[in-house]
Symmetry: C2
Subunit: 240 residues, 2 copies
């Protein structure tokens, strides 16, 4: 070991976003176990150390699959977090048990991912996986709260640069109101719903379906779907 | 050491951009030494392993200072590169000598930085530091060529999201033509020079100076400067 240089494990942590019926952005959190305090609730971002023969994107894809049961998820690396103090004493103690090895400093690479919230989560690794609205995320270990804060800025940038990733968060058939509410929840740019409607109707990759909402108290709205093939062919100018 | 998980050193590598008199984007490369083949020319990106008590941004700032002698440089983290095969046999051999320790896999965090090309480079660490036009960068070790390719996409995004960082690359007094040529060299969006002139003249943070070019064969152009204070006060809408 070379003195003075950090020699350690490297992890990935994933912030998975979902969009719920109440028009809130949600995040998937898992449970962290402490053997000596079994009843204490500890939430954290899903993550893992990186394996020997694994690239960092592969490690993130593995974590996402172990978390959700979904084979290939959209993902985007956004930042490496490496503050020397990011693991508290409690976090170090937890790593001692979890990895059966003493790790006092750990560097992590953070990823964004997107998941339709109505999709069944089928984790092969975690007993407990739950959606939390972003404004109701509890105190998390390490710098996971900071990672989530920074991921919110990143998801905005991502949607500004590629509007179509928004459809990863919507059900297969959606109303324009749902699309508008999701766009408004994420984007910092205000757009009124009339102008939004006008813009959307100029996009030939948003397909009007022969189906309207049922069992709703308000006037039933029409459903739409996103056609990736048409989008890819035309690459229409995105909302700016 | 826990089996199967990568346990290693982590480095930072910096892509420093400069803009030359021939309107080309340049990058700073340093020399890599092999004791057994002293005359072979080996260029690489400036970089370093991260120290024990150092954050990753601090490590990048240290590398930049050791490279240029400049105390505080603009920097932006853009991606972690961790392909298991990114160090070739030759690279591993070089690390053996350089760090007096066997490292067979190394993860790096890549940074962008910007430097006025007329600024004197005064390295405390490297004997040889040279500017290379981005289209004349030789074959580099590790995945440094790939890092440079991806950094070009990043610098475009950076300038699109914050136009004012372009002034980090220009001399203190510059002509509108210089600004236009730099913008054209970096941005993917075409704008003709007349429209560019019009836009620029609407920005009150670009100050017209009482000075024109001397010793030029074409019609002498007026000099301008960038006023950060006015910019910060008004935060005028950027070029889009």
């Amino acid at each position: 070991m070379i003195p003075n240089f950090i020699h350690t494990y490297v992890s990935v942590d994933c912030v998975v976003f979902g969009f719920d019926n109440e028009n809130r952005l949600n995040i998937l959190l898992v449970q962290r176990h402490f053997e000596d305090i079994p009843n204490e609730q500890h939430r954290k971002l899903p993550g893992s150390l990186i394996m020997n023969n694994e690239g960092v994107d592969d490690a993130a894809q593995r974590v996402l699959t172990e978390l959700t049961g979904i084979k290939k998820m959209v993902l985007k690396q956004f930042k490496c977090f490496a503050d020397p103090g990011r693991a508290s004493e409690k976090d170090v103690k937890w790593m001692d048990k979890e990895y059966n090895h003493h790790i006092d400093r750990i560097i992590t690479v953070a990823y964004l991912s997107l998941c339709k919230i109505d999709r069944k989560i089928n984790s092969s690794k975690y007993e407990t996986v739950d959606w939390f609205p972003v404004d109701k995320v509890p105190d998390l270990p390490f710098d996971h709260n900071q990672i989530i804060q920074e991921s919110l800025i990143e998801i905005r940038k991502w949607i500004e640069s590629d509007f179509t990733i928004i459809f990863e968060l919507l059900p297969k058939k959606f109303t324009i109101r749902q699309l508008y509410q999701l766009y408004s929840a994420i984007s910092e740019k205000y757009i009124d719903i009339k102008n939004f409607h006008k813009k959307i109707s100029s996009f030939n990759y948003i397909i009007q379906l022969d189906e309207i909402e049922t069992n709703v108290s308000h006037r039933a709205a029409r459903y739409y779907s996103f056609d990736q093939k048409i989008y890819k062919k035309n690459n229409t100018k995105l909302i700016k």
